[in-house]
Symmetry: C2
Subunit: 384 residues, 2 copies
């Protein structure tokens, strides 16, 4: 327990109380003072003091009765977080497409735009496309750059938040080491965050997906690329160099064959491997397996056995509460999940709980918005 | 940020302040009010209020000048944590020996006793031996059972803290599922903790070993058995079922061969495998390798290559700040570490930082004391 550097005078307490009231308002909609007392455990004068501070800071406003159902007797005095006082921008940049999602300050979507990125040219040209897409989404949401409180860019590769760039992103030509704040830093005055897209996906699953109840979660992106995002005790685990979860580079062979580009596990269990083994387009193989086609089922079983071999050591070391399977291959559905589950059971001490992602290809961009929300909450708490 | 259930009235603040002052005293020796103000950031009246509360609770006492070097001018008013007001008992139970370590309330050793456990009979007989050993160590420390504030038993197996027992501990006959509080619960009125011995070792390395600066650490026990203890952000990661770090069960083969008893990785890289490959006693092979013997060096290299294959997926998923190698095989020293490092570099994106444990076979028992200290700190904070 390290409490040495924590200030704890009366002003700190006032800020903590205001922050608790703000969190209650941000997550609970319009509320009366009595509701806030019940949710925070604070006394009426303390809640009143916190509301004065928050109203002064411009974060809350009274709501008219029309916005909420009034109780009997005298009209309820409701206050609400001003979720529309600004907006957030999440962006997911992939080798095939980019998605920009604009939300209000509690994460409710205002606009979403998708653009193809394949053949978008080299890094700087792609960067311009991204910036234009965010601008278009903001216009569609009826917002301006100045109203954005946080931007988060997710993409493959190892994120370097200090330098606002990505390392090792071979699937997007010219993207690695591109300084994102050259263009975005000019465009926005707010924080610009960068994060690996699979790391963002696990945040999305805990926010709006199948992992809302779990603290230690492994999100496995299974597509042409393979990677994992991990939360431990509800917090994203990035590792020493931001490279935690890079399971696509697990090598099943006796002689290691680690090279730049595709990881060894990606080569033998990725979407392309499924296509090769099933003798068709990967999506067609997955559909055929779901329909019971024996050749496709064998292909799925072979790949699931290989994946279990690579994934089991990661599960033995982490013992997660839940493993969420996402990415394009997860469209294989229960057939795929059952095969993976069967092979993992033979290789783990405690059989893991597996679940299919229900967020589809929006996991990354939703996670980017979640990262913006986390940043905003910290900024709000620091600013009180 | 979830602050909803946190109470935050003036009495909570008073407790937080007292707890901060207590932590400063527990970790910093005798101190003046001015020292405590500097270390906690609290005002003089607040520190004084905290000291009154702590003295009333019996946790602190004034110290005479003889115990500390007085400054010029008027004599310094020193207070100190009453580290001798009770004691802690850490116990490490292994297949070959048990160690009981009695310390004061800040972890300074008072007595340590080792007894052989091989051939100690079945579970209940071993339990009686453990209880007798703790009693003997307490006598040697001049303490009684009633003065013990926390006991922690470490052993191989998966700890079940709720039922105070271990699961899956094949190396100690009759130990698994033995209810430890049958005997120890009668003996002590304080908390009796149970924890996997390798989990305890990583706590020891962060407390007194080579990992004091690192938050995300993997301690690898390399002996006849193989296992890992993991901290993430400085906290022990136990996993969903307390089975995190069971890397001895990693299986390198294409066909899984998970059975009860020894894990697949243990069979091919454990001390016995080193002995088989080197054609001698494992310790002799390790010594010969350190002396440059070619046969022994080849044996070490073979085993290191296998271990790297099993360990790499765990490192790719965790990306730890430091990997500490302990256990009997770690006596192989730099020769062993260099071989492992070389093979791991070929299989990881970011080469891990490796270090040899310097705690020898005391890592487990030191970790057991550290677990007692953590428990005590929580109890002290809760009791204010």
């Amino acid at each position: 327990m390290s409490t040495e550097s924590r200030g704890s005078g009366p002003h700190v307490l006032r800020r903590l109380n205001a922050s608790a009231v703000l969190t209650a308002l941000r997550t609970g909609g319009p509320q009366r003072v009595a509701d806030l007392m019940a949710r925070t455990g604070l006394t009426r004068p303390t809640v009143a003091q916190a509301l004065t501070l928050l109203e002064h800071a411009g974060w809350i406003e009274p709501v008219t009765d029309a916005d909420a159902s009034p109780r009997k007797g005298r009209p309820a005095q409701l206050v609400t977080f001003r979720a529309g006082a600004g907006c957030l921008a999440g962006v997911d940049v992939g080798p095939h497409k980019a998605i920009a999602l604009i939300t209000d300050l509690i994460g409710r979507p205002l606009a979403e735009i998708r653009v193809p990125t394949e053949g978008a040219g080299d890094g700087p040209e792609l960067m311009t496309l991204i910036a234009d897409t965010v601008r278009a989404a903001l216009r569609q949401a009826g917002r301006t750059e100045d109203e954005v409180h946080a931007v988060c860019i997710g993409s493959p590769g190892i994120a370097d938040p200090a330098n606002r760039t990505f390392r090792l992103a071979p699937s997007i030509p010219g993207w690695a080491s591109l300084p994102l704040d050259a263009e975005l830093g000019r465009m926005f005055r707010c924080p610009v965050l960068v994060e690996n897209d699979v790391n963002l996906s696990v945040l999305a699953e805990r926010w709006q997906g199948v992992a809302t109840e779990a603290g230690t979660v492994m999100f496995v992106h299974w597509g042409s690329r393979i990677g994992a995002g991990i939360t431990v005790g509800g917090r994203l685990h990035r590792g020493r160099s931001g490279a935690a979860g890079e399971i696509g580079f697990i090598d099943l062979d006796e002689s290691p064959s680690l090279v730049d580009g595709m990881g060894p596990l990606e080569r033998v269990v990725g979407a392309d491997a499924i296509g090769r083994l099933g003798g068709a387009d990967p999506s067609a193989v997955l559909r055929a397996a779901a329909d019971g086609d024996p050749v496709a089922l064998t292909a799925i079983d072979t790949v699931a056995a290989r994946f279990a071999r690579g994934l089991a050591p990661a599960l033995l070391v982490l013992d997660p509460e839940l493993v969420v399977i996402g990415g394009g291959v997860s469209r294989g559905g229960p057939t795929l999940l059952d095969a993976l589950d069967r092979h993992l059971r033979a290789r783990t001490l405690v059989p893991p709980r597996l679940a299919l992602s229900a967020l589809g290809d929006r996991a990354g961009v939703l996670g980017a918005v979640r990262a913006c929300l986390d940043n905003l909450e910290q900024t709000l708490a620091d600013g009180l």
